[in-house]
Subunit: 313 residues, 2 copies
């Protein structure tokens, strides 16, 4: 067995950090290590925490770390979020609060930078989840920002998706309907000591009652929290635990695990396929020729793409 993968499986922090960095940098051989680790994954509970910037996600993540640590669980944290204090781009107070965890060997924190196009922000987050899983994390918290595609993707990998909102969103709550509510397993109204918290809760309740969100019998609970003083955290943890139990029952259903494996495989296949295509098109000079034809108006990108893919048959 590879030395590096073996060290990760033995819970060595420095080797784990190195493998993650190698994956991030696309170093040759990092995927080979991941292949060795793969059979040792699938044990960790993956919890996604998502919401707009300023919703207090990192403070809640901080509280969840404390809670899981107090129960003796090893915690991995992945911040797929350029605005997270875990990524270092934080306001000072947050940074200091997180430092407790940086010195705890039971907590492994890693931030993932925003990527450019073609490849996607979250692609390396999936691999890091696997490394932290094989490393021995009992719980992996994945913090993502916003109401975009990345969150929906991460929701597919997470056992439980926690969506964090804040009071005073008024009418805007309505607008959330089509978006992030569809992926929420647990809803949190954070900063619940602020004016308008109950209005937000009522708005969410009405939305949930309108239906469309019932997934195989699970009704997303709404938790009121104040991340900064810890109010409501036990209830949040309980909601997450209950969803994990629900999820475990689902997992026993036929086809459930297959769907997750298929999604993971197709994501990896997509990434490898396009990398391979681009490398070969660049090497042969075909890409430059195609672009020249497009700029000169002699062709269109759909026909050019079809030609490339037929050649690859």
């Amino acid at each position: 067995m590879s030395d590096l993968a073996e060290k990760v499986l033995h819970g060595e922090v420095l080797s784990t950090a190195r493998l993650i960095r190698d994956l991030d940098d696309g170093i040759d051989g990092a995927i080979a290590e991941l292949k060795i680790l793969y059979p040792h994954t699938g044990k960790a509970e993956i919890i996604g925490i998502t919401g707009a910037p300023g919703a207090g996600k990192s403070t809640l993540v901080n509280r969840l770390i404390e809670n899981f640590r107090s129960r003796g669980k090893r915690v991995g944290v992945i911040a797929v979020d350029p605005t997270s204090p875990f990524s270092g781009g934080a306001v000072l107070g947050d940074r200091i609060r997180m430092q407790n965890h940086f010195n705890d060997p039971g907590v492994f924190i890693r931030s993932v930078a925003t990527r450019g196009h073609l490849g996607g922000l979250s692609s390396s987050a999936y691999e890091i989840i696997k490394v932290l899983d094989a490393f021995g994390s009992d719980v992996i918290l994945v913090e993502t920002v916003g109401v975009g595609q990345d969150e929906v993707e991460i929701a597919g990998a997470a056992h439980t998706s926690v969506v964090v909102l804040t009071p005073g969103m008024g009418d805007e709550i309505q607008n959330l309907k089509a978006g992030i509510l569809e992926i929420a397993d647990v809803l949190v109204v954070n900063k619940a000591d602020r004016e308008g918290a109950q209005v937000t809760v009522q708005g969410l309740r009405r939305l949930l009652e309108m239906g469309g969100f019932d997934r195989k019998g699970w009704k997303p609970p709404i938790c009121l929290t104040v991340g900064t003083d810890g109010t409501g955290i036990p209830e949040l943890v309980q909601a997450v635990d209950q969803h994990r139990e629900f999820w475990n029952r689902q997992k026993a259903q036929p086809g459930f695990e297959n769907k997750r494996r298929e999604e993971d495989f197709l994501r990896i296949l997509q990434g490898q396929a396009i990398s391979k295509l681009i490398v070969s098109l660049r090497r042969s000079g075909s890409l430059d020729e195609i672009v020249s034809r497009l700029v000169r108006g002699e062709s269109d990108p759909y026909s050019e793409s079809e030609k490339v893919l037929k050649l690859g048959d």
Copy 2:
């Protein structure tokens, strides 16, 4: 020439709506029409409007439509945003305001639903931009939500990216640095009649002065607007016009147009490549076999993906 493509080129609304629907539904033949339209694209000015839910993007889009219409320009609007009133998921007041434009033949409004994984939310937005361009829109406004990957992608297709913020973001402004500011050509502080607008402007100015955002001599201007009463809209329009002029000068630089064409081609190639792969894997039954091996722990998705791609050589 195809009847449908010809009708789009003649500015027929119903045919244009049909082609867009066909593209959305993945109807055979829709791409063939796009190939015909492609040489007639590249004339429209594409403006991206992005920001968090509740920032007032749709109200600004509404004002921009009014402004462009008053100058006799034909306007296309694409809402890549489940929370947009253009998508129908709106609060009542917004919906009524937008209805003026729905009855104006010089305005073509189309919303794009959020897509599932593998394919991406914005993929069909690119094709709809091309259709509206060939249809004869002088300006195409693309409204996107959030601080995610989709916005960064759309920014690559837009001539000008307008990022909409609101007052009272305080410290959170700092956190935006690594994210959305990098794609902003024009910054808007909307709802500028609210408390804290100047603080937000100062925060943005400090960030811009810290550097890292200077792109070939363009410094993003900061516009203060009140979308609901129209305050600041002429200044916003002026800033967008100035960026368009800057962009036109850049366009004359060697390599500039090539890069845009290459990105568009690679995006299309990626989509076609993965669709083709998945269809062939499903048809042959290989996908089920692969997933079974993964579930039984006999293999890993990286090796399986490599095997598939080698077979396709």
